[in-house]
């Protein structure tokens, strides 16, 4: 918060929400109200931001979010096949979470890795040049090891 001038602490909101989400797993109303008190702003100012940006979840998600890029160049390189493969492997559809609460699958728009397509983001890590084997591997890895969502913070939700 110290990055911003006196009286402009609202500017820290996006970062604070990232930290809160990394810690609690998702942004519940209680968490958002707490953030509002912390920054001396109205709860609605937090809600409107949390619902605007696609990285924030206002509903519970799995411990590991697998976010597959589906835009243009990734589509050309087979993003749709990767999504279908993950759907079948984990038995969930796009946007759903596995019953053990471990994985959420989400298709997202361009993540800026077009030259290394297809790709997905898990927590803050980019996985590029995906193949079915690579997907198998990383799902195995994340089954046993939690993922860092923000600055090395793990999801404790």
């Amino acid at each position: 918060m110290a990055q911003f001038p006196e009286g402009k602490q609202k500017s820290a909101l996006l970062r604070v929400l990232h930290i809160a989400q990394a810690h609690f797993g998702y942004l519940s109303t209680e968490v958002m109200d707490y953030v509002a008190r912390l920054l001396h702003i109205l709860p609605i100012e937090v809600y409107e931001v949390a619902t605007f940006y696609s990285m924030y979840d206002t509903n519970p998600v799995g411990k590991v979010k697998l976010e597959v890029c589906r835009t243009g160049p990734c589509m050309i390189e087979g993003a749709e096949k990767i999504v279908t493969y993950i759907e079948q492997k984990l038995g969930i559809k796009d946007g759903e979470t596995t019953s053990d609460g471990l994985f959420t699958l989400k298709t997202v728009e361009c993540l800026g890795a077009c030259g290394y397509a297809p790709m997905l983001q898990a927590g803050e890590k980019f996985h590029e040049h995906l193949t079915e084997e690579k997907v198998d591997q990383l799902i195995e890895t994340y089954r046993n090891k939690p993922v860092a969502n923000y600055m090395g913070l793990e999801n404790n939700g």
């Binding site: 990055q3 696609s54 800026g112 890590k125 980019f126 600055m151």
Partner: protein, 450 residues
């Protein structure tokens, strides 16, 4: 061998650290500027260099800087736009990840030129790992006296911060970026007032792309005239191009503006030709927003001249037969790709990313996505093609920010050049699920009178 001004040392081991960056000539430009140049001298060199905004619009940077208001006692801010999210573009990420100190050095020079004492890098939330690289580099720069109070005894103070976004393409628009940095939804503002007069916290603000700011470093080092000596006409210097799609060597390349498109696609120095020996079908030369070009207009203009990688040559022929250099997101499609599907994919993107403020964009992008989905999945009617044309025309120019235009242009260009492929989707529904349409027939164009 092409000259590299930004990525020359990108492959040096440990270049992300201050120590190695210094050994390779890093922070020389800051030393030079703080010792022997006034802020106005730096602005003057940038003007001379002919540097144009590398984020997509191509606006002359020196001119943008000269617009900044300088009321007494009001702080000014420089914001670096690192919200790179244009599909096809990944150059800024590469630059920040490899050589973070180049951006920091550029930020110091640009802040000095503009008289800013606290500057921000706004980076997209998905690049959280890049944010950590930048913050580490910034901490090194503070420790070594390149940031903070009285930088290297010059009397110039600068604090530099990184602030994350959270997954909104629209925040790459400069006024939306400012809103977001104020902790609000990324809704673009009406202009005027322009950010140069009232930007961040209603203070005079300049927003520049990562690559633009990095380019200030070689400009100060070598001089504006030397920089302007590279390139063709008003396209001066070098440009980072992110190449993706059906090519042998996708990646980020630094080119001297003026290289021919043919060389860029087929030479081994760059893209290395089309994958699997296939034919090129289409190309989007500057990120998803710019018009797509059919195979016969990629390496040659409608007038039959060789097309070059410059702002002017790529735009030759206007939108009828040309495109734009844009952000340098160079996407290549081979003969097996479906243009209708690709256009639908892009429309879905713009629908998803529309902030919802202006009706033509909020509603229009959704309609385009639905109509294109219908065509692609074999339920389209012939009238749908004209309907699409109509919708895109109603969006273009009728919105607060350029996202509306960016959503309209790819649809317009796809219909303009690939109409027969759209018609084929109506006449032979679902055929494209098995085999794609292939190359469109070459059309001839009436010469456009300038």
């Amino acid at each position: 061998m092409a000259r590299k001004l930004l990525l020359e040392h990108a492959h040096v081991e440990g270049i992300h650290t201050l120590e190695v960056y210094r050994k390779n000539g890093g922070y020389r430009a800051v030393e030079k500027a703080l010792k022997s140049m006034s802020p106005d001298d730096v602005v003057e060199e940038v003007k001379k260099s002919g540097l144009r905004g590398r984020g997509g619009a191509g606006f002359p940077t020196g001119m943008k800087w000269s617009f900044i208001a300088k009321p007494d006692g009001v702080p000014r801010h420089l914001l670096c736009n690192a919200d790179e999210s244009e599909p096809g573009t990944f150059k800024d990420r590469y630059l920040m990840e490899k050589i973070p100190h180049l951006l920091i050095e550029g930020m110091i020079l640009s802040s000095y030129a503009l008289g800013c004492n606290s500057s921000y890098i706004y980076i997209r939330g998905e690049y959280m790992y890049v944010l950590q690289i930048l913050e580490k580099a910034i901490a090194e720069a503070y420790a070594d006296g390149w940031l903070g109070k009285n930088i290297k005894g010059s009397g110039f103070d600068l604090d530099l911060f990184v602030s994350p976004g959270a997954g909104a393409y629209i925040c790459g628009e400069e006024t939306a970026l400012i809103e977001s940095l104020e902790g609000k939804r990324g809704n673009p503002r009406m202009k005027p007032p322009f950010p140069a007069v009232q930007g961040l916290w209603a203070r005079p603000t300049v927003v520049n792309n990562v690559e633009t700011i990095a380019a200030v470093v070689p400009i100060v080092n070598e001089g504006g005239d030397a920089y302007a000596g590279i390139g063709v006409g008003k396209s001066t210097g070098t440009k980072l191009i992110s190449a993706s799609g059906n090519i042998n060597k996708p990646g980020v390349y630094e080119i001297e503006l003026g290289v021919s498109v043919e060389e860029f696609i087929y030479s081994d120095q760059y893209c290395g030709g089309i994958k699997n020996g296939k034919q090129i079908k289409a190309c989007v030369p500057g990120g998803s927003s710019v018009p797509i070009l059919p195979h016969y207009l990629i390496t040659k203009t409608a007038a039959g001249e060789s097309r070059l990688m410059t702002y002017e040559s790529l735009a030759d022929g206007g939108f009828a037969t040309g495109s734009m250099l844009g952000s340098g997101g160079f996407i290549v499609y081979d003969e097996d790709q479906c243009i209708v599907r690709n256009t639908w994919n892009f429309s879905r993107f713009y629908h998803h990313e529309s902030c919802g403020q202006c009706s033509p964009c909020r509603e229009g992008t959704g309609w385009m996505e639905k109509v294109l989905h219908r065509l692609e999945y074999g339920h389209g009617k012939m009238e749908d093609i004209d309907l699409l044309w109509d919708i895109q025309r109603q969006i273009e120019g009728n919105t607060i920010c350029p996202l509306g235009d960016a959503a309209a242009w790819p649809v317009a260009a796809a219909i303009r050049h690939f109409r027969e492929e759209f018609e084929w989707h109506v006449n032979e529904p679902k055929r494209c699920m098995e085999k794609n349409y292939g190359l469109v027939k070459e059309k001839t164009f009436e010469p456009v009178n300038a």
